[in-house]
Amino acid sequence: MNTPTAVAAPSAQASATASAPDAARRKSSPAQSMLVTGNQAVAWGARLARPQVCPVYPITPQTPVLEQLTEFQADGEFDAEIITPESEHSVMSACIPASLAGVRVFTATASQGLLLMHELLHYASGARAPIVMANINRTVASPWAFWPDQTDSLAQRDTGWIQLYVESAQEALDSVIQCFRVAETVLVPAMINLDAFYVSHAMEAVDIPASADVDAYLPPFAPPHKLDTAKVESWGNVVSQEMFYRHRQAIEESMARVPQLLAEADRAWRERFGRGWGVVERYRCDGASAVVVTMGSMCGTARDAVDAMRADGHAVGLVKLRLFRPLPAEALRAALAGVRDAIVLDRNHSPGLGGILHQELKSALYGMAGAPRVHGLLAGVGGVNVPPRKIVEFVQAARERDPQPESVWVR
């Protein structure tokens, strides 16, 4: 076998050479406060991150992200190459080599679209392509439905993507930019998940950072290896068992750095913009004997329930899991140390298993001295409304009984 070209697997090393977009094409925008939806906030985050390629396919309830981006482009405010293929499968297929060619890539999807991408999600992480994607959490068919439910993205937990779950439009915008910083550092793709309608379509006042500040926060993407005819490297061909093994190990090592890197990225964000979201947030957990653990929009409801219970003199708090992959087990253990009951609210369903966060939390706490009792509640599956008073009831009922190994259906 002749070996004319060195074919190196990408590694997570820093590189000094940047492929910065043409400075002349960089439009600037001022800091402003706007009333926008979660989807629009995602699009603003993407615009400020200055991706150069955006393949995207419309799907409810993600479509406004696509439309906002194409509108930005039509207005001359967003100069990414927007590709509109025939399916989400082709969207992700286009994202990967674009990223490997050394440009920043953003896309967005939801539900069935994310499932259609499944094969390529593995392919992207294997290729070490730090694509950032927003996913609007929506029920998975069949039957057809359009309600908030996180089963779509949780079913992708083994695909090698960083996963964040956000609670608000502001957090969605901030997370898109933070995710690019983390993903491009470790060369692992990242997914920001926001609940259908509760976050994607609800309007709120959002602080849009000045583009110059985001430019200072997020350096241009400069991967150590890329597809380039001037320096020939390739990606994708067959490897030996040994090479495959080492490749997976390298991905794991990169994933292991993510909780720390996200914490740092969030700290830097807080310093620059005055707000941060953490990796795992403890809300009113001081001295709490019972703590609700959940993700996404349910956190907002749980805050109200916690406030109500605190007002009634109950020592109850909330742990919001923002980073789900990699699962920040140490942070979860620290957040739940000394707590008697952890009540997990799962807005997802894995048949034969129950609630996915329930299972993940149990595994994270396994073997922990004085670990809390973990109660898994299937609450809000299929978008069923879970008002604060219901969460109060769930917590009270859970505290009075021994936890079950299975998740329990509640409503």
Partner: protein, 299 residues
Amino acid sequence: MIKIDVPQEAMLCSGHAACPGCIAALSVRHILATMGPDTMAVIPPSCMAIIAGPQPMSSLKIPVYQPTLESSAAAASGLRRALDAQGKRDTQVLVLAGDGGTYDIGFQCLSSAAERNEDFLYICLDNEGYMNTGAQKSSSTPHFARTGSTPAGKTTRKKNLAEIMAAHGVPYVATASASHLKDLIAKVEKAKSIRGTRILTVLIPCLDGWGVPDDMGLTAARYAVESGAFPLFEIEDGTRYTLNVAQKTRPVSDYLALQRRYRGMAAQDVATLQGEIDAAWAKLVARSNEGRHEAIAVG
């Protein structure tokens, strides 16, 4: 024997992993030499992916991205746009896919890319079946051919990829064969000079899959063209047809006799196949003449 002057730069290096006598390797050698070094290849799982070699080695002197089997045209789109975003508009994106990855599983995204007129050259190395997995039928497998999944012979005809892609209105669709090397190279050169989606189908007799002796691959390719089973033509902008080898000089039985995949065909079936080829040929001739009349009328 005629000596043909062709570009000789070795972009496909010796020592590659193709079977001895492989027509894909021969064809790609000339295709790559014509494309030159400022080219990136997208090669999905296929014989060509094997020929490209296992990591960390490569038999190609250009970057190769290997996508999933069904996503070549989508991957080429993403790669193209990333190059455009970097101002590398002169770098060519070249897909080298098999017929399974083109006619079958990759067809949806190919149609989509053609509709968007994405700027790349898509070459289908058409060996008329899933040869890399041991010779099963694809929708490119011709009528009556035996494969692992059609042991009694395929009961339906080969999909007409060129016509379908031409119907997208892309600037350039053509067929080629290494048996007509000058024509193949001229088509690659022409395709290289055009922007937009360009699709070239190259017939690749598969020695093992078709049951052809190691030294008869080119003969099979030549007979395919001469019998009209695989006519060489171009369709520009979806409308202008050119028949490059304008005469059919052999009965299809000559072509069939070279290949084990057509063994034991009934005379009636041979006649049916000959009829299909004659009808398709007549249509091509008519379309080619139509274009000529138009050109005369305009000129």
